[in-house]
């Protein structure tokens, strides 16, 4: 039950979508781009947001495309289940298939998970490790920028800009990865820790969410991770100490527990990846 009205439009091209956003904005309609809508509908019901123009991007070809031949590309309006069914990247699939629940994953999209208000944005974790680019459309056209530049706690979009998809150079499935997810109690919940590791060219990379207020990949932490003179436990202790100020405390868990879980996850991942 959404207690107010909005206009719902279905652009069929990027240009239509963006110009529709700006003309709605000019009319003071507080427009939103809409793909899965699971979060927007909920926020509207609770009247935490009140858009009067909803622009559905699910009919824009660039938002629905999936390509795993040359440059990999995943449209922002693909549902998580569509990607898990089609992708050859087992880490990507493993992470996406733990977000929300199976029924919701038939509606929740990649773009929605990345662009939503919820801080976890777990879909970003493997993408940060794949050195992916965000393909962003705006008034000035389409740009593709690395997440390392354009993702800082959240995707930094300009006014009226729209995430079309995610791309990265062709990739064979990295067999060497570890994904650990912990919840307060019960699988169907937000994570108190969600962490991905991959090993590429003898180097281990890590991206973390849940434990912190936002998803993070940190070069300094990765440097420590790869100091092979130290034991996995020593490295885990150093990395988790390095993040001392990052851990979140909320009703789901304390910072101390989150830190403990991360330490355990790092130790196990290093042992497994260096085995």
């Amino acid at each position: 039950m959404i207690p107010f009205d909005f206009t719902y439009s279905v652009p069929e091209s990027v240009e239509e979508a963006v110009s529709s956003w700006f003309s709605s904005e000019q009319r003071g309609e507080n427009p939103v781009y809409y793909s899965g809508g699971t979060e927007i509908i909920t926020l509207c019901r609770e009247q935490k947001i009140e858009p009067h123009a909803v622009i559905d991007i699910k009919h824009i070809p660039e938002c629905l495309k999936i390509n795993e031949t040359e440059d990999y590309y995943y449209g922002a309006a693909l549902t998580l289940n569509t990607i898990t069914e089609k992708t050859s990247l087992s880490l990507f699939s493993a992470v996406l298939s733990r977000i929300a629940d199976n029924t919701i994953r038939n509606k929740l999209t990649l773009g929605g998970n990345i662009m939503g208000r919820l801080p976890y944005r777990e879909a970003v974790l493997p993408l940060l490790l794949f050195d992916a680019h965000a393909v962003i459309a705006g008034k000035e056209g389409i740009r593709s920028q690395p997440l390392s530049v354009v993702f800082d706690k959240r995707l930094l979009l300009g006014k009226g800009e729209l995430l079309l998809g995610i791309t990265f150079p062709a990739k064979t499935d990295a067999a060497h990865w570890v994904f650990t997810r912990k919840e307060k109690n019960g699988r169907i919940d937000y994570p108190i820790l969600s962490v991905c590791f991959i090993k590429e060219n003898d180097s281990i990379k890590m991206a973390v969410s849940g434990a912190f207020a936002y998803p993070l990949r940190n070069p300094e932490a990765e440097n420590i991770l790869n100091r092979q003179t130290l034991s996995p436990l020593q490295r885990a202790e150093k990395v988790t100490d390095y993040f001392a100020d990052y851990y979140k405390t909320d009703f789901r868990s304390s910072a101390a527990y989150r830190k403990h879980l991360l330490k355990g996850a790092i130790t196990e991942a290093l042992e497994k990846l260096e085995d």
Partner: protein, 774 residues
């Protein structure tokens, strides 16, 4: 079970086909023409003075027909203790309390307008626990407690935050502790929670032109609503009709009176038009009443050999901002406070204490799940100190026929066999193979056991009725006042009726909706007493109908009525079965071949009222409040990874002495469902508060109940010591399966982490912390 035709059989649920086809109609599935919708403004503070409510902007919204605040409805209502205004007046007493309501032509307009209402508050000191509320300098949550109306059995203490105090004084505890070789004393606690039935609460009220108040409500207490509405608003009883279709889960949370008074008041303001109050899930969780929290202290003494000598118990129930059922929950907990153990020297004080938490009402187990956690923990701690196995110490102290309850009643020879229940559960758990096992360097498997008992906490004059009529084919219509809340009561009663008439349950049509102006009176569908009492009423109604059948048949067949029997749709001579009449020929009048008719519609009238219950003495608790006790034992096996406290409940076992089983599948379903609820209750279902006592997890996303895949393997065993006054020797079993779960899980988790745990919920983080501290 071959002696029975219908009882003891797994008859298909009578409303089952409609439930799997989406055709069953709950209250919200039947909107009324011209119905108005509502939306609430809820308090953003846990304890605050209301300074102003500005609703001018809300009134301007198209479709809004009225905005109301507490000042519009100067009533104080309450089930036992009249402490609650329909909307908060002058101050709010918990986070989420309804402060204002918008009525509108559409739900959208009502919700949109409600958001525009601006309330200003002056925060007051919040009371975050019963202990805080009992401090001498604690502010009073109800300043006018002395002026409130209440029933005699409830004893509020004006000038304090105590809504009720129940005392048990049995034997001599000084002497008992003196005789003890070992004494333990420990505190236990857990925060409030919620029922989380799938159907949110809803009531629709309208007032017809002749003043008839018609209320459609998802309630366990249609007759209770009728009675209370009549006394709150001085409406003549005959002018109130409550209609209750099947209910989408109750668990105690829909007993008593809830949304109905406000729905009525709003309909009256709207000239009698139907007004619907349907809670959102968030409102149902936080604004509407839930399960009480508990802070308890138990001192327990025993001989070296394990026999208990005395107990001193303090229960502080966290009733939240209002009393509702909590004042009686705390009372019931006192009456059963020893747990199912022989305790000749017992002193209990059980208090219902106001705090600034969401208020509490009846919750499956009604005080017994709470008390059981505290008592079973104490028993385990004592058993550890004595070095006696937890199973052995329970067997040693099991209560039996001839011994006395906390209220000093002697248990009669219908009393269940607790020892057999304990043995059965221990066997199901393979207890003798050890209760703690290492699986890997960090993973352990641990077992735990607990006992439980429960009697219905009911008024001394609790009653039930049944009416049986017949269709021309000889089939039966059965109407009672029992509400189908998922427990399968309609099916159970159909089986009892069918058994009485010696017919197939398919030949019994059970009326589904309870409508107070045509259904026979029934106290309330709660306390696990419905099968017992409504079942007895059905037996009584069938007997009444059978007498009438025999009386007519004796004229037609020219024989004494006592030579006749009724079965298989016929009335026949016992020793000459071919001399008979089909019921179809005579249940609505018998017509002789020459056209002359006798009889007329047969109407079976049945009734039952609780037997030999008495009030209790306010100083000692002496009296008889309990109709029949259901006893049992439960056990679990858990697997815990000590490195982070994560766990899985592998097995949950229950053995319960139920007297007899009317429908084994439905009975098992009740017990299994209750065990699952008990797992959630103990591990996830607790409100989390910030320092100002705002609820942090007030959505179903954050307030977790058990999901598919988190459930264990269940075993259920029924022991059958006949309940001699029960219908076909059966006794109540709907709630009992939840009661032992907190104790059993606490026992297992304590064993796993190597430390006696005293607080719930058992989250992985809590287990990790406790385990790491060892």
């Amino acid at each position: 079970m071959d002696e029975y035709k219908a009882v003891g059989k797994n008859t298909e649920r009578v409303e089952g086909q409609d439930k799997v086809n989406g055709k069953i109609r709950y209250t919200d599935d039947l909107p009324l023409p011209g119905m108005l919708y509502t939306a609430f403004v809820r308090s953003s503070h846990a304890h605050a003075k209301i300074l102003s409510i500005d609703h001018r902007e809300a009134e301007k919204i198209e479709g809004v027909t009225g905005v109301f605040t507490g000042e519009d409805f100067p009533y104080l209502i309450g089930l036992y203790l009249g402490d609650k205004p329909p909307l908060a007046r002058e101050k709010v007493r918990y986070f989420g309390e309804p402060v204002a309501v918008v009525v509108a032509h559409t739900e959208a307009a009502a919700r949109y307008a409600a958001k525009l209402i601006n309330v200003t508050y002056e925060p007051l000191k919040v009371l975050a626990s019963p202990e805080e509320a009992l401090k001498p300098d604690a502010p009073l949550i109800h300043e006018n407690l002395s002026a409130y109306n209440h029933i005699d059995a409830i004893l509020p203490e004006p000038g304090t935050n105590i809504g009720n105090r129940t005392r048990i004084r049995k034997g001599d505890i000084q002497a008992g502790f003196k005789a003890a070789d070992v004494i333990i004393e420990e505190s236990f606690s857990f925060p409030p929670g919620d029922h989380v039935f799938m159907e949110d609460r809803i009531a629709i009220a309208e007032i017809l032109s002749d003043g008839q108040v018609v209320i459609r409500s998802s309630t366990q207490s249609p007759f209770g609503v009728q009675n209370l509405m009549s006394s709150f608003f001085q409406i003549p009883q005959r002018k109130i009709t409550v209609i209750t279709p099947p209910v989408g889960g109750g668990f105690g949370g829909k007993a008593g009176i809830q949304l109905e008074p406000l729905a009525f008041l709003l309909s009256r303001e709207m000239g009698g038009r139907p007004v619907r109050i349907a809670l959102t899930r968030e409102e149902d969780l936080v604004s509407a009443p839930g399960a009480a929290g508990l802070h308890a202290r138990v001192k327990l003494g025993a001989k070296k050999t394990g026999e208990f000598t005395a107990a001193e118990i303090l229960f502080l129930f966290d009733s939240g901002g209002y009393a509702d059922y909590a004042v009686n929950v705390s009372r019931a907990a006192a009456f059963a406070s020893s747990g199912p153990y022989k305790l000749d020297n017992l002193q209990t004080d059980s208090l219902s204490v106001y705090t600034n938490h969401p208020f509490a009402t009846a919750y499956r187990g009604f005080g017994h799940i709470e008390l059981s956690f505290a008592v079973e923990r104490a028993v385990d701690i004592l058993s550890e100190k004595l070095g006696i196995d937890p199973v052995t110490i329970r067997l040693k102290n099991s209560i039996q026929a001839g011994e006395t309850t906390p209220t000093q009643n002697v248990l009669d020879n219908s009393t269940g066999n607790l020892k057999e229940c304990i043995h059965t559960v221990a066997q199901r758990l393979n207890w003798n193979n050890g209760s703690l096992r290492k699986i890997s360097s960090t993973v352990v498997r641990a077992k735990g056991i607990a006992c439980f008992w429960k009697a219905p906490a009911i008024p001394t004059n609790t009653q039930a009725g049944a009416i049986i009529t017949f269709n021309n084919d000889g089939s039966v219509n059965l109407a009672t006042g029992a509400v189908e809340i998922g427990q399968g009561i309609l099916t159970g009663l159909a089986q009892i009726a069918a058994e009485s008439f010696g017919m197939d349950p398919e030949m019994v049509h059970v009326v589904r909706d309870v409508i107070t102006d045509r259904s026979p009176n029934d106290w309330t569908t709660a306390a696990s007493r419905t099968l017992f009492m409504a079942g007895r009423a059905v037996l009584n109604a069938a007997e009444d109908a059978i007498q009438q059948i025999k009386s007519i048949a004796s004229a037609v067949l020219a024989c004494p009525p006592e030579d006749l029997e009724v079965a298989d749709g016929k009335v026949f001579l016992r020793d000459e079965k071919d001399t008979m009449l089909p019921l179809s020929s005579m249940v609505n009048g018998y017509t002789y071949p020459n056209g002359t008719a006798i009889g007329g519609p047969i109407i079976g009238r049945g009734k039952y009222i609780a037997r030999h219950l008495t009030h209790v003495d306010p100083l000692t608790g002496k009296g008889r409040p309990a109709l029949e006790w259901t006893l049992g034992a439960e056990g679990v096996e858990v697997e815990v990874d000590l490195k982070d406290g994560s766990f899985k409940v592998l097995q949950a076992s229950c053995a319960m002495d139920v007297g007899n089983v009317i429908n084994p599948d439905l009975a098992r379903g009740q017990v299994v469902g209750a065990m699952a609820m008990g797992i959630g209750y103990s591990t996830t279902e607790a409100f989390e508060f910030d320092t100002s006592q705002k609820v942090l997890n007030g959505t179903l996303r954050d307030f977790k109940i058990l999901r598919y895949g988190e459930h264990p393997v269940y075993t259920v065993d029924f022991i059958r010591t006949p309940q001699k006054d029960g219908p076909y020797n059966a006794r109540g079993l709907g709630e009992q399966g939840i009661i032992g779960m907190p104790g059993a899980l606490a026992s297992a988790f304590s064993r796993a982490v190597g430390k006696q745990l005293t607080k719930m919920p058992f989250t992985p983080e809590y287990l990790w912390k406790q385990g790491a501290a060892v």
